[in-house]
């Protein structure tokens, strides 16, 4: 991961200190060990806790945009009535069974868990900006979805100008920045 990928501190400034909560309060020792970099991640509201913890585990990011998190949480909660409860249940299962995020989907799929769709729903929201399935799908984010952010040092999301005419003829990582 490059320094350029580090995200800006979410909007939880001193004007609203009473609301400041951090992710560490929602994690156990096991899950905290998986995402030590995210312990200070702000959490906007208590009901967001499990969602934010799952988001940190699944996305594996140093920090997550709190404003986008709130929008995604609202969209997911509106789309899926049991979303908050399911998120709590999945986080509890990860804590209890010490499931590695890399094995999470196969574990849930193998067990035919009713929670199996949840990781993909959360990752689609963060990484594609999409919530919902089929005709009901809504776009909540695009240029700040994680799949754009992760490659932002090399690419612009389609429809955004890459740069001046011909700039694409140069090597993509001419400055020597190569995080892969």
């Amino acid at each position: 991961m490059t320094g350029e990928l580090a995200m800006t501190e979410p909007d939880q400034g001193p004007a609203n200190p009473a609301r400041r909560r951090v992710l560490a309060g929602f994690l156990t020792a096991y899950t905290a060990s998986l995402v030590p970099w995210a312990l200070a991640q702000p959490v906007a509201a208590p009901e967001h806790g499990a969602f934010m913890a799952l988001s940190a585990l699944l996305a594996g990011r140093r920090s997550l945009d709190a404003g986008l998190a709130a929008r995604l949480f609202d969209a997911l909660s509106a789309m899926y009535p049991h979303f908050t409860a399911d998120a709590r249940a999945l986080l509890a299962q990860i804590n209890q069974q010490h499931i590695d995020p890399a094995q999470l989907q196969s574990t849930l799929d193998g067990a035919h868990s009713p929670l199996a769709p949840l990781p993909r729903r959360i990752m689609r929201a963060w990484c594609l900006g999409l919530v919902g399935e089929g005709e009901a799908t809504k776009c909540v984010a695009y240029e700040n979805a994680l799949n754009a952010v992760i490659v932002a040092d090399v690419l612009k999301p389609p429809t955004y100008a890459y740069g001046e005419y011909g700039s694409w003829a140069k090597p993509p990582l001419a400055e020597g920045v190569n995080a892969s």
Partner: protein, 546 residues
């Protein structure tokens, strides 16, 4: 203000071909009216609609759907407008709006190669065109100058004058592909209607990598630019005018067209000359719809060939990971090709093809794949970058031979206005399939030369479509075999002309728009010739180069 009820020339369809024919006729002093079934749209709103779309790989998704002027849509599910009679699907896409389908196109503005128009004589397949490549050269040149085509001098398609614009800067990924495949394959920059410098009042490309579905900055020539040129020359454009019938007199001359507005109020427009430019599906549909007691099989159809010989360019592809970072997605979407397989003695045995390298950002598809695979945690970040940097794709554009059984007919199913929907009858023959098999061997060589891993071929026998709708109004000298003559005039109606890719009697291997435009400009010249024809091309060149 009420819409005009008469014009010297009535053009049905405001796509790039109809609008440029209208533009030329207006510059010759003709009073021209364009009737467009769909609405006006705004570029900025299309860009916003794309960014907000939940289906970013569906390039139709940002475009509005109009119940009175339906267009085929297939995602998230088919709207059933283009009825599929089989045996193979023909899921063509087009946009019924002012400006037409080139609102989204790759802007590949290739000429044919000279032998493309003589495949019957040379290879014993298909048909010969009624015009030679050399005869088309001046109109190709004019089309290129109007569109602002950028290209290399050595593309394999001869020319008498240089391209109006220097080639567009080649993306880094394409440079590496070109270098790695040499000398086994010669990779060349595509000729494109994309500005490599300011031209025609439009800016140079800034690499938005969204040529399809929409160029946000107007660096790529679109049908709407043709509409604007036509309007500036005095052409009137009526949107939301759904032509449903073409009228004729006792001698077979076309006298008027009838159209519905969105409230299904009928309007009539009379004229002296008529251009049908509604694309290779809607145009034959309209001719078939306009049957009468004198023409029970539809207008222009004494040959029985209206709607037949439907062709396109089926594609199959190979996607793989190169052994070095390429990072597709920087610059325009379709920069380079291998075009040396467009012609050769093999055409007597199998389809010719062009191999097209995409430069579309791979981030979307890679993200979807990773989520599907359940790749979570820090591995997601690493895998997204690794795959997005290395994933490449090459596809074929295969020639399809004219086959009368491949056709557009009228469905018994009707649209919201009560107009029969078009119905596609389509198959892909052994000639094209053998071409696909030959290309598969090229795919393997290309992947090997690029250190390819994770090779994913299109399953054998499966093809995707390229929306290069050709053949349904084919031109030829024999009125018993062809719909239109060498100038696009309907053999059966002296004042009805067809413009668009539908008049192409064979599909060849190159994106068909430039050839369609060149033929449309030639048709317009035939309809309203200058006294000294030689002067016309030079005059036009001066006008558009400024």
């Amino acid at each position: 203000m009420s819409a005009p009820t008469s014009a010297e020339v009535v053009v049905i369809g405001s796509g790039i071909c109809g609008s440029l024919a209208a533009w030329k006729l207006a510059t010759r002093g003709k009073q021209v009216l364009i009737l467009e079934a769909g609405p006006r749209i705004d570029r900025g709103r299309i860009v916003a609609a794309f960014r907000n779309s939940p289906r970013k790989s569906d390039w139709m998704s940002p475009y509005p759907f109009s119940a009175w002027a339906p267009q085929p849509e297939y995602k998230p599910k088919s709207n059933g407008y283009l009825v599929q009679a089989g045996p193979y699907p023909y899921p063509a896409e087009y946009i019924r709006v002012v400006g037409g389908t080139t609102w989204h196109w790759s802007a590949l503005a290739w000429r044919l190669v000279p032998n493309d128009v003589r495949i019957k004589s040379l290879y014993g397949v298909g048909v010969d065109w009624p015009v030679t490549y050399d005869e088309l050269d001046p109109w190709y040149q004019e089309a290129e100058e109007q569109l602002g085509v950028a290209g290399l001098p050595d593309t394999g398609s001869p020319r008498k004058h240089p391209f109006p614009l220097p080639p567009v800067a080649e993306p880094w990924a394409m440079q590496r592909i070109r270098e790695r495949l040499a000398p086994t394959y010669t990779v060349v920059g595509n000729t494109v209607a994309r500005n490599s410098r300011s031209y025609g009042g439009r800016p140079a490309c800034v690499g938005n990598n969204s040529c399809q579905p929409i160029c946000p900055v107007n660096a790529q020539y679109l049908g709407i630019n043709a509409v604007e040129a036509a309007k500036a020359a005095g052409v009137k454009v009526v949107p939301n005018a759904v032509v449903y019938r073409i009228e004729h007199d006792a001698k077979g001359r076309i006298t008027a067209v009838d159209y519905y507005d969105p409230d299904k109020t009928s309007h009539r427009v009379s004229g002296k000359q008529f251009i049908l430019a509604a694309n290779g599906i809607e145009s034959p549909k309209l001719l078939l719809l306009s049957s009468s007691s004198k023409y029970p099989n539809g207008l222009a159809n004494s040959s029985g060939m209206v709607g037949r010989n439907l062709m396109d360019h089926p594609s199959n592809s190979l996607t793989f990971y190169a052994d070095e970072e390429m990072w597709l997605g920087r610059g325009p979407q379709s920069p380079d090709s291998i075009n040396t397989l467009r012609d050769g003695a093999f055409r007597s045995q199998h389809a010719a093809y062009r191999l097209d390298f995409t430069n579309i950002s791979q981030v979307l598809g890679v993200t979807e794949a990773l989520i599907e695979e359940g790749v979570y945690g820090p591995a997601f970040d690493q895998q997204l970058r690794w795959r997005a940097a290395r994933q490449l794709s090459v596809k074929t554009l295969l020639e399809v031979l004219p086959n009368p059984d491949n056709r557009i007919t009228l469905s018994s199913d009707k649209d919201a206005m009560g107009i029969p929907k078009p119905e596609a009858h389509y198959s892909i023959d052994a000639y094209t399939r053998r071409g696909a098999q030959a290309a598969r061997e090229d795919f393997a060589k290309i992947a090997a030369l690029l250190g390819g891993t994770g090779l994913r071929y299109t399953p054998k026998g499966e093809f995707s479509n390229n929306q290069h709708i050709t053949g349904t109004l084919g031109m030829g000298d024999d009125p018993t075999r062809f719909v239109t003559d060498r100038f696009g005039r309907a053999h059966d109606h002296e004042n009805l002309f067809c413009c668009g890719t539908g008049v192409m009697p064979t599909s060849a291997t190159m994106n068909s728009t430039l050839t369609g435009v060149a033929l449309a400009l030639r048709t317009a010249d035939h309809m309203a010739p200058l006294k000294a024809q030689a002067a016309s091309t030079d005059t036009t060149r001066e006008a558009v180069s400024s």
